[in-house]
């Protein structure tokens, strides 16, 4: 594709929709990603997105036009179950129950998809798992839902920034001194579920973990304050999403996996920079 051909793409509104939605989702997922990675919940994104996939299969077989009615509540319920009960003494430990929910949702989801009378099951499944080009087929309604949700997530994050910090660093201390940690954990769980459901459009349900963990890992290697890590991971995430979407149009590759590849490259660059910085400090 020549550069002038590439530029003609910007005449289409769907390209702009994709860029706006991609940026917003990348921003939200990176904000919460820092907390998840530090609390050792990196895999929650993966698990929840599989749950969302299962819910989507049910919605598809039921023939619902607005699949969100099923997907969102189910994912939120799973998030609350996983994040708000794991701190207590349960018979099953956290990562085992997460893995269990994750694979069963994936398996049942695929099973249910096969029961539907859709002519192109493998195509549908592949699209939901890897995001494929659905980001380029967003409607104006999708765009507005995404904008409203993202603004809400960002505002909540800023308002509760210090609480989120305290719960991430030391939940026991916060609880002991009288902070209502239960409510904030619930808030974090709900917000994560919303982000995962939104992000399924962008990168598909298998690749969501990348949006959650890569930006956070980039910042953690290089920055020494929590604020620095949060801001840097937000910037990295937005930049990678933009580059990824543009590159996928230019190279005609699947959008989701291109974004994840860009995130991986960013992570490698940051790790190298962090390594160099530590050596320089020691020398």
């Amino acid at each position: 594709m020549s550069f002038s051909e590439f530029l003609t793409f910007f005449d289409y509104p769907f390209v702009w929709y994709a860029l706006v939605v991609g940026t917003l989702i990348a921003l939200c997922s990176s904000l919460l990603g820092v907390t998840l990675v530090l609390k050792r919940f990196s895999f929650i994104g993966d698990g929840l997105s599989h749950v969302a996939f299962g819910a989507m299969a049910v919605a598809a077989v039921a023939g619902l036009t607005n699949q969100m009615i099923i997907i969102l509540p189910v994912t939120i319920a799973a998030a609350v179950l996983l994040l708000c009960t794991s701190s207590r003494k349960t018979k099953l430990n956290g990562d085992a129950s997460l893995a269990m929910i994750s694979v069963s949702a994936l398996a049942l989801g695929y099973l249910i998809y096969n029961l539907s009378d859709s002519p192109n099951v493998s195509g549908d499944v592949c699209t939901t798992l890897f995001g494929s080009t659905s980001i380029l087929a967003l409607t104006q309604t999708d765009l507005w839902i995404c904008i409203v949700m993202s603004v809400a997530v960002t505002v909540l994050y800023i308002l509760f920034y210090h609480k989120i910090f305290a719960i991430t660093f030391d939940e026991t201390f916060a609880k002991a001194t009288g902070v209502k940690t239960g409510i904030y954990n619930l808030l974090i769980a709900v917000v994560i579920a919303v982000i995962i459901v939104l992000a399924m459009n962008l990168v598909g349900s298998l690749l969501i973990s990348a949006l959650v963990i890569f930006p956070a890992l980039c910042g953690m290697g290089l920055f020494r304050s929590f604020k620095g890590v949060v801001i840097s991971s937000a910037c990295v995430s937005v930049l990678c999403a933009l580059i990824g979407i543009l590159a996928s149009i230019w190279l005609m590759t699947p959008t989701g996996s291109t974004i994840v590849a860009v995130d991986l490259i960013a992570f490698l660059i940051f790790s190298a920079a962090g390594f160099a910085a530590r050596r320089a400090r020691r020398a």
């Binding site: 530090l38 920034y161 210090h162 305290a166 201390f173 001194t177 902070v179 929590f226």
Partner: protein, 238 residues
């Protein structure tokens, strides 16, 4: 709940502690007055940490009563978790988070709180570290950071769960001296879980020995003279 007399901060009566109906320790009774320095001792698994968690209402007691004086704020120095050791946050960010319980729904910290945090850090000798990253500090410095955070949460009572775990003897001695000076000079009541009997002897005013089937509580002198105390101190010296 019975009325507590003026000087009493905390009164526990016949507490039974444990998880899911399995008591680890029972018959725990003691009272704590303002300015006391109470050491909680006992063998591993005897329920010391469980007692601390129960006092902080992090877990329910199986039976018995805990009565707090009105408007007591508590600062807590927990045992460190692996998550914290490599946490990317500055000293200042961590110390400030001690104010959270007081700030309610207010999203940001006040200037006055930032000033107070600065004071606490200076008081504990970590003022010069405030922009440093927590994970790059030594064990002793990290404990001081967490102590400064606890002081931001309270002026009344500090609960310390084995504060010297993993520190070398010199740093341990400095930390104990610092805690003792907070007790002596600023009138902060201390409850400390400790394995360190020499420290208990030199700093504690009261001792609570937690064990299966009853516990021993008294002033340091009373405890040292009791059967449990004689045995415990003798074992430690042997």
């Amino acid at each position: 709940m019975q009325e507590l007399s003026e000087n009493i901060l905390l009164a526990c009566k016949d507490l039974s502690l444990g998880y899911e109906g399995h008591p680890v320790a029972d018959g725990v009774s003691f009272t704590l007055e303002r300015g006391d320095y109470l050491c909680i001792i006992g063998e591993n698994g005897s329920g010391k940490s469980t007692l601390v968690k129960t006092l902080l209402s992090l877990q329910p007691s199986l039976s018995g009563s805990i009565a707090w004086a009105e408007r007591v704020t508590v600062g807590y120095l927990p045992q460190q978790t692996p998550v914290q050791r490599d946490f990317p946050a500055t000293v200042e960010e961590i110390v400030l988070s001690g104010f959270l319980a007081k700030s309610g729904l207010r999203p940001f910290f006040r200037k006055q709180e930032k000033g107070l945090a600065q004071e606490k850090m200076a008081r504990l000798g970590i003022g010069h570290l405030k922009k440093r990253c927590y994970r790059e500090l030594s064990g002793g410095q990290q404990q001081r950071v967490l102590l400064a955070r606890a002081l931001c949460a309270t002026g009344d009572l500090l609960l310390l769960d084995e504060p010297a775990a993993g520190l070398d003897p010199k740093v341990t001695a400095e930390l104990y001296e610092l805690i003792a000076s907070l007790n002596r000079d600023e009138g902060i009541t201390i409850i400390m879980v400790s394995h360190d009997l020499p420290a208990v002897r030199s700093y504690a005013t009261h001792v609570l020995h937690v064990m299966h089937g009853g516990c021993t509580f008294g002033t340091l002198a009373q405890y040292a003279a009791s059967d449990a105390g004689k045995l415990f101190f003798a074992e430690a010296e042997a």
